[in-house]
Subunit: 113 residues, 2 copies
DNA sequence: TTGACATATTCCCATATAGGTATATAATCT
DNA sequence: AGATTATATACCTATATGGGAATATGTCAA
C-alpha cells in the first residue's frame, strides 16, 4: 500500500509546507489565485493544484468573481488536528503547569491579605 | 519532486493514522513493541517501521530493557503543530466571532456618541 | 551451545505524489 | 470575432511510501 492521499484529510493536506503557507497567506482575507502565485514562489498550475487539495479536504472555500476565483480559508477542518494535538499538551507544558500552580497560590494568598 | 519524506517533520509523521494510533497507545505510558503489535492491527515489522519514523522525528524515545525496547512518547515535537493550528482557532470558534461582532458594534456606538 | 523470544532490517510492489510544461476552459476587452 | 487575462487540467518523471514476507540481530533460558 502507498501513502494515504493528500486529500484524505486535513492531517495529510497540511503535511505539505507550501499548502500551509497558502493557508497562512489566506488568513488575513480572501485572495485570487494570481495573488497567491505572486506571493508563493511557485508556478500558477502548482498553486492551483495545492488549492484543489485544500478545497477537497474543506480547508478553503472558493467564490467566483468574474474570471477570478477568490479563495478563503475555512479553519473548521483544523479543529480535529487541534483536538488531537491538544491531548499531548501536558507533555510539553509541564513547566507551565508548575507555574500555574505558583500563580494560583499567589492569587489565593493575595486574596487572603 | 515527490512528496516530502515522512521523517521530515512531525507534520508529515503524524499524517499516517497508524502512527497517530501508536502515539495514542503510548500516551498512558511506555510500552514494548510487542504490546503495540498486539494492540494495533499490524505485523511486527510494520510497527517497528512506524516506530522508526516516530523516533526519527523525535516523537518517541526508546529505552532498552533486556530484549525489549520500551517506547515512550515525547510530545514536545507536537508543539509546532499546536502553535500553527492555534492561529486558526477563531475560524472554528463561533463565539469569538460573535464576540468580535459585539465589540465592533460597541466601538462603532462609542464613536457615534 | 542450542533454542526460543523480541525487535530491526531488507527486499518487493503498487501507488500517489510535487513540480514542470503544455494545453484547455472561461471571462473580459477591443 | 479575435486577443488577452485568469484559472484549471492533462501529461510526464523521479521518488518515497506502507504493507507483506523473509531474514538478520540481539538477548535470555535450559
Amino acid at each position: 500500500m502507498a501513502r494515504a492521499a493528500t486529500t484524505t484529510d486535513a492531517f495529510n493536506a497540511i503535511a505539505e509546507p507550501q499548502r500551509r503557507q497558502i493557508l497562512d497567506l489566506l488568513a488575513p482575507g480572501e485572495l485570487p489565485v494570481n495573488d497567491l502565485v505572486a506571493l508563493v514562489g511557485l508556478g500558477q498550475p502548482q498553486v492551483s493544484k495545492h488549492l484543489k487539495v485544500l478545497r477537497e479536504v474543506g480547508l478553503v472555500d472558493v467564490r467566483e468573481d468574474g474570471r477570478q476565483r477568490l479563495y478563503r480559508i475555512n479553519g473548521r477542518m483544523l479543529k480535529p488536528i487541534h483536538d488531537w494535538v491538544s491531548n499531548y499538551r501536558q507533555t510539553w507544558e509541564e513547566r507551565f503547569q508548575a507555574l500555574d500552580q505558583v500563580l494560583d497560590e499567589l492569587k489565593a494568598q493575595e486574596k487572603r491579605t
